[in-house]
C-alpha cells in the first residue's frame, strides 16, 4: 500500500465513511500534505463512495483545502482592509524579496508558498498572517523576515 492510500484509509477509519466526515478527512490530508492531489481525491472518492467530481467540488469551495501543490509552510498574509491600511503591501514585498518568489508561488525547495487571504480576525493587531495554523500579528517588514528565518531552519 502506498503512502497516500494508507493516509486516506487511516483518515477514513478514524472519522467514518459518512458524507459529513468529508471535511475532517480532507483537512487531515492537508495537515500532512498541504494540498489535495488528484490521486488523493480519487482515493477518497472510492473509499467514501462519493463521486470524485463531488469531492473535488467540495474541496475547491474552501480556500484552505488547496488543490494545487503547496510548500511545507503556507504563508497567508491578510489583505483585508485594516491590514491593507496598516501596510500589508510592505509585508508582502519583504516576504517576496526574502524568499525570492511572488505571491501564489512556491519556493523550489518546496518549503514555502506565499498566498493572500481574507480577514484573519486580528484587525486590532494588523498586519497579520498565518503560517500553516500559527498566527503572527503586528508585523513589520523586518519582523516578518526574522520569523521566516526561523522557519527556514525548521525541517
Amino acid at each position: 500500500m502506498d503512502f497516500h492510500e494508507k493516509l486516506v484509509q487511516d483518515l477514513v477509519s478514524k472519522h467514518g465513511r459518512d458524507r459529513e466526515n468529508l471535511l475532517p478527512i480532507l483537512q487531515g490530508v492537508i495537515d500532512q500534505e498541504r494540498y489535495l492531489s488528484e490521486e488523493v481525491i480519487l482515493k477518497i472518492s472510492k473509499e467514501m463512495s462519493i463521486p470524485a467530481a463531488d469531492v473535488y467540488g467540495t474541496a475547491s469551495f474552501y480556500s484552505f483545502l488547496d488543490i494545487e501543490p503547496r510548500g511545507k509552510f503556507v504563508i497567508r498574509v491578510c489583505k483585508t482592509i485594516t491590514c491593507a491600511m496598516k501596510g500589508k503591501n510592505q509585508i508582502i514585498q519583504s516576504i517576496e524579496s526574502f524568499l525570492k518568489i511572488k505571491v501564489g508561488e512556491t519556493t523550489i525547495d518546496k518549503k514555502f508558498t506565499i498566498l493572500q487571504t481574507n480577514c484573519l480576525g486580528w484587525c486590532h493587531k494588523a498586519p497579520a498572517m498565518l503560517i500553516n495554523d500559527d498566527v503572527y500579528t503586528e508585523l513589520t517588514p523586518e519582523s516578518v523576515v526574522d520569523i521566516l528565518r526561523e522557519y527556514k531552519e525548521k525541517n
Binding site: T58, I81, G121, C123
Partner: protein
C-alpha cells in the same frame, strides 16, 4: 426624522469580568423548568449577536416546540466579517460561559449533541478548547445533563457564517446557503431541528442566567437591549475588544475611540454601513430603525477611518472581498459583485462617466432584492453608503 433615543457611551464588563465557576450557575439553571428558562431569555430582550439580530429566546422556543427526538445546538464560531474578532476573544478567555449557554439551550430544546463550528483561521484555539471541553463534560456528568459538544473545523469560507451554509458545510458539502424556509429550527443539521447561535449570543445567555433578565434588559434602548461586544480597529489609538451598552451614537463612540481626525466609521464590517462625519451625531448603534438607516444593527465590527484614507480604496477592498467570498450560487450576487468591482475601477480610470455610478447603485438595489442570502443582499449597504457620501473620491 432624527432619532430621539440617545445613550451616552457606557462601558460594561459582564462577559469578560466575573470570572466564576460556571457549575453553580448551571446547577441553578438546570433545576428550573424549561418554560421558566425560555421566559427568562425572552424577557431579557437578547437578540442574536452575529449581526442578523433574531430574538434568541424565540429561536430556542421554536426549536423546543418541535416533537422530533434528535436535535442539535450549534455554536457559530465562523467569525469572518472583516473587522470582527470578538468571538475569538470570547472563546479564548471565557469558553466555559459559551459552553454553559449551549448546555442550557440543549436542556430547553432537548438536544444531546452540540458542535462548535470553528473557523479554520482559529485552529490554534483547538488544544485549549479541547481541554475546556473535557472539564465541562465532567461538570455536566456531575449535574446529570446528557449533552456532549464537539468541535467542527471550517476551512476558510466566509459564507459558512451564514447558518444554513454552515450546516451544509458540516454535512460535508460546499457551504452554499439553503433556501429558507424551512429554517434550521425546523430542519437543520442532518434534517433535524437545530439552534445555531453566535458565540457572543451564547455568552450573553450565560450572563442573563447569572444576573437575571432584568439586569440585561435595563441596559440599552427600546428594541436594542443589553450590551454588545465591539471589535474596534482602524485609525484608533486603542484598537481592541470593548463591551458597550447598545444605543450609543457614533459620535459618542468616535469621541472615545477616534484619533481626533476621524472621517468615517464603518459599522458592521464590509457588509455594514459607512457613516460619514456629518451623520455621527444622528446615527445610533442598535437594531431598531433597520429600515430607516438611522440606527444601525451590527455584528460588532467598528472600523475607523481618518482623513488620510481614500474611501475609494476602502470600497475597492470590500468589493474584492465580496467577489471572492460570494458562493456563486445565484447570478445577482456572483455577477453583481464582479460588475461592481469592474465598474468602480472603470469610473476611476475615466473609462466610464461619473453617471455610471448611478447605474451601479441600481445594480446594488437589484442585488438587495434578488440575492438569495445576506451576503449578496448586504453588498448594497457599504456600496451605497460609500458612493453616496464620498462620490467625489470615487471619481477623481
Amino acid at each position: 426624522m432624527t432619532t430621539t433615543i440617545k445613550k451616552q457611551l457606557h462601558r460594561i464588563d459582564l462577559i469578560f469580568k466575573h470570572e466564576d465557576d460556571c457549575k453553580e450557575i448551571l446547577r441553578n439553571a438546570l433545576s428550573r423548568s424549561n418554560q421558566e428558562l425560555v421566559n427568562e431569555m425572552v424577557n431579557s430582550g437578547l437578540k442574536g449577536r452575529g449581526g442578523a439580530g433574531f430574538p434568541t429566546g424565540l429561536k430556542w422556543k421554536l426549536t423546543a416546540e418541535s416533537n422530533e427526538k434528535e436535535k442539535y445546538v450549534i455554536c457559530n464560531a465562523d467569525e469572518g466579517e472583516p473587522g470582527t474578532f470578538k468571538d475569538r476573544e470570547i472563546l479564548s478567555r471565557v469558553p466555559h460561559k459559551v459552553l454553559s449557554g449551549m448546555a442550557v439551550c440543549a436542556k430547553i430544546i432537548g438536544a444531546e449533541k452540540g458542535y462548535i463550528y470553528l473557523r479554520g483561521e482559529y485552529k490554534f484555539l483547538v488544544p485549549e478548547l479541547k481541554k475546556e471541553l473535557r472539564k465541562f463534560h465532567d461538570i455536566l456528568d456531575e449535574l446529570g445533563l446528557d449533552f456532549r459538544v464537539e468541535i467542527f473545523m471550517g476551512s476558510g469560507a466566509y459564507i459558512c457564517g451564514e447558518e444554513s451554509a454552515l450546516i451544509e458545510s458540516m454535512e460535508g458539502k460546499r457551504g452554499e446557503p439553503r433556501n429558507k424556509p424551512p429554517f434550521p429550527s425546523v430542519r437543520g443539521f442532518k434534517g433535524k431541528p437545530t439552534v445555531v447561535n453566535n458565540v457572543e449570543t451564547l455568552a450573553h445567555s450565560y450572563t442573563i442566567l447569572k444576573f437575571g433578565a432584568k439586569k440585561f434588559r435595563d441596559l440599552g434602548v427600546k428594541d436594542s437591549r443589553g450590551s454588545k461586544v465591539f471589535s474596534v480597529s482602524g485609525d484608533t489609538p486603542i484598537p481592541g475588544i470593548y463591551e458597550l451598552e447598545l444605543g450609543m451614537t457614533v459620535q459618542d463612540f468616535v469621541d472615545d475611540f477616534g484619533d481626533g481626525d476621524c472621517k468615517a466609521v464603518q459599522v458592521g464590517g464590509a457588509s455594514g454601513f459607512l457613516v460619514p462625519r456629518k451623520r455621527f451625531g444622528k446615527t445610533t448603534i442598535g437594531y431598531e430603525g433597520k429600515l430607516t438607516g438611522i440606527s444601525l444593527p451590527t455584528g460588532g465590527s467598528m472600523m475607523i477611518f481618518n482623513s488620510s484614507r481614500s474611501m475609494y480604496n476602502v470600497l475597492n477592498n470590500y468589493l474584492e472581498f465580496f467577489e471572492e467570498e460570494s458562493c456563486g450560487q445565484c447570478t445577482p450576487c456572483r455577477v453583481g459583485c464582479q460588475q461592481l468591482l469592474k465598474g468602480i475601477k472603470a469610473v476611476k480610470r475615466g473609462e466610464k462617466p461619473a453617471s455610471y455610478l448611478d447605474q451601479l447603485l441600481k445594480l446594488t438595489e437589484t442585488m438587495k432584492l434578488t440575492a438569495k442570502c445576506g451576503l449578496g443582499q448586504s453588498v448594497a449597504n457599504s456600496f451605497s453608503s460609500i458612493v453616496e457620501n464620498f462620490r467625489e473620491e470615487m471619481i477623481y
